[in-house]
């Protein structure tokens, strides 16, 4: 792609001796939409704050456009931030909130007016100039926050879970709108979220983080289709992760059976993690299946059913539009291209088994507000 705008080189960070970032290396290209994705406390917000200038890394360097900016205070950086809960100024109306950055730059009144009106047009808030920001809905406040940052024409926009406080419907709309703005204005976006769907649908590249370590960087398709380890596979969508052995290139053994697959480059007989997405499993009659099990739980999800299938003690999650009776015996068909092989990692065995199936795994979309708050003190 185009040239590099931000580079983090071996950045580490710790709060009170607790490491939160462990030697982070990351490049963000000009005009790219990059998302930092991970659970609460994975270090994604800290990474953003380091780039914004609100935290100084313990070690390592931050480069902006090739210049080291470690010691540059936030107000001198050509970066603007959209904060988690907007942080609009309650003593100013919509116009003055948006004009804030321009007034600080001491631009003349005519230019301030035209730029503020232009950007309010862009976020569909014309006519709201005189309103108090406290009288706006969450979505409108969000737009003011976006306008306030964009009016300064930053090279890089940092977005810290900007849609976390909005309801689902509004969030979807704003996702589309943010993406449109990014493409229209050709600004680099660095976006932080814990919502994998948001990350996949908006980003050019996704950076998956956990425990202060970058687990994988790649396009949404790469991340989803070729997860590097069990953590990524589990965090990005649902996954069945089974212990297997790579017999040789393109042949893997799991569940006591041998399967053709597309992966290669492992040592002969190397133990591996096998990932199979629940939507890639086709249910067929029991006798015809290579893998056979019993349906132990059914959840209707609207578009499809979710079945928990017990295969010799290991519970699989299967999504299918066809209904199966509770307790019925089913067989699986898995195509070679749907079998993903991963090297064993520290996360092996921690994810991908649905034996403790409950509604729990559905609830990872709760706002991870504490993520950034706990680091304030």
């Amino acid at each position: 792609m185009s040239k590099e705008l931000i580079r983090l080189a071996d950045v580490t960070m710790a709060y009170d001796g607790e490491p939160v970032l462990r030697s982070i290396c990351l490049d963000v290209n000009d005009r790219e939409f990059v998302t930092l994705l991970g659970p609460s406390g994975c270090g994604k917000t800290t990474t953003l704050r380091i780039i914004g200038g609100f935290e100084t890394p313990l070690s390592g360097d931050v480069f902006f456009d090739g210049v080291r900016i470690n010691d540059l205070p936030p107000y001198k950086r050509k970066v603007n931030t959209i904060f988690q809960r907007y942080a609009l100024f309650p003593h100013l109306n919509v116009f003055e909130n948006v004009a804030f950055g321009l007034r600080v730059q001491k631009l003349d009144e005519a230019e301030i007016r035209s730029r503020v009106f232009d950007v309010l047009e862009l976020v569909n808030l014309r006519g709201y100039e005189r309103r108090s920001v406290n009288a706006l809905s969450g979505g409108q406040q969000q737009r003011v926050a976006i306008a306030r940052a964009l009016v300064c024409r930053p090279r890089l926009l940092l977005l810290d879970e900007p849609l976390g406080a909005l309801d689902l419907r509004l969030r979807k709309d704003m996702q589309v709108e943010l993406k449109r703005l990014q493409q229209q204005l050709e600004i680099t976006f660095l976006y932080v979220t814990h919502d994998q769907e948001e990350a996949l649908s908006m980003s050019d590249r996704v950076v998956v983080m956990d425990k202060g370590v970058i687990q994988q960087v790649g396009t949404p398709e790469d991340i989803y289709n070729e997860p590097k380890n069990a953590f990524v596979a589990d965090f990005i969508g649902e996954s069945n992760i089974i212990d297997g052995v790579m017999l040789r290139d393109r042949l893997v053994e799991f569940c006591g059976r041998r399967f053709e697959c597309l992966d290669a480059g492992f040592a002969p007989n190397e133990p591996v993690d096998v990932v199979i997405r629940p939507e890639d499993i086709d249910l067929i009659p029991y006798e015809a299946g290579f893998i056979r099990g019993t349906v132990t739980n059914i959840t209707f999800k609207g578009v499809h059913y979710e079945f928990i299938v017990d295969v010799a003690g290991f519970k699989w999650l299967v999504q299918s539009t066809d209904y199966r009776e509770l307790g019925s015996d089913v067989g699986f068909v898995i195509n070679p291209e749907d079998i993903h092989i991963m090297k064993k990692s520290e996360y092996s065995g921690l994810f991908g088994d649905y034996s403790s199936f409950s509604q729990e795994y559905d609830e990872d979309t709760e706002p991870a507000a504490e993520d950034s708050d706990e680091k304030q003190s």
């Binding site: 914004g52 936030p74 107000y75 931030t81 804030f100 600080v104």
Partner: protein, 270 residues
């Protein structure tokens, strides 16, 4: 249901009636009557003679409030920046003088400032000679600042501590240096605290009588002293009541003017 909730306020309402409303009516009655109980405006007319005293009192109270603000604001801000555990300790330090008697505090200041007092003894010991510190308007202001400073710091602290740190970061993000953050965000958002702090210093300061009696000279008698002497030495209840009434009205007007400021920012806040 609603009437039951109202019942909870009954003790206070009774208190208000007995100790505020009724005395207020008594004050109004005395202010508009003469010694024989005849209705008259003479008491209020006589206030003309005391106009300079009223003016002096207002001026000294305003200066005290201003000095309290200048000392109190940075103090309150510094406290809010401290870690939470230390904040409690610092607040305790601010409150500590309030645990001592008001009279004792004023007398302590007298002991410090008087001609044979501690400060003058130190000055003469190092060979600088004695200075008249007491019996001056400045001494009265010092006494009022000393006594009322906590009332300035507390409301300022409670406003500043609630200030969202994200707003400061947002201002920095939009290009504000530290000073600009203070002027453009922190100061405007602490206006309600400034107003209530100034009110809480100004109102008791304008009607104070003990401080000026102990620290001021005969020429710096404040309106509070005059009112006290009307009741306790000249036994002119009617004149005293009239002065109290006028003072109260002046205080109300001052508060009204100040509340206009909060009122406006409140409109913006809502």
């Amino acid at each position: 249901m609603k009437s039951r909730v109202k019942l909870l306020a009954a003790p206070y309402l009774a208190w208000l009636l007995i100790f505020t409303i009724v005395p207020l009516c008594v004050v109004v009655y005395f202010a508009f009557t003469d010694a024989d109980g005849h209705v008259t405006l003479a008491n209020l007319g006589a206030m003309r003679d005391y106009l300079p005293t009223f003016a002096d009192s207002l001026l000294l109270a305003a200066i005290s409030a201003a000095i309290c603000l200048l000392i109190g604001y940075p103090t309150a801000y510094a406290i809010t920046r401290a870690p939470a555990s230390r904040q409690r300790f610092l607040i305790l330090l601010i409150m500590l003088p309030m645990c001592m008697s008001f009279l004792l505090r004023t007398l302590a200041l007298v002991a410090l400032l008087e001609d044979q007092g501690i400060l003058n003894n130190i000055l003469s010991a190092v060979g600088l000679g004695r200075v008249t510190l007491i019996r001056r308007p400045a001494a009265v202001v010092a006494g009022m600042v000393y006594n009322y400073l906590p009332y300035m710091i507390m409301p300022l602290h409670s406003v500043l501590v609630k200030l969202d740190g994200k707003l400061i970061e947002a201002a920095q993000d939009l290009g504000c240096s530290r000073l600009r953050v203070l002027l453009r965000v922190i100061l405007p958002l602490s206006v309600p605290g400034i107003i209530s702090g100034v009110t809480m210093v100004f109102v008791p300061a304008v009607s104070t009588f003990y401080i000026s009696k102990k620290l001021g000279g005969t020429s710096t008698a404040m309106i509070g002293d005059i009112i006290e002497s009307q009741f306790k030495t000249s036994y002119n209840l009617n004149a005293g009541a009239a002065m109290s009434l006028v003072l109260m009205i002046i205080v109300f007007i001052c508060m009204g003017i100040m509340n206009r400021f909060t009122g406006d920012s409140e409109v913006d806040l809502l």
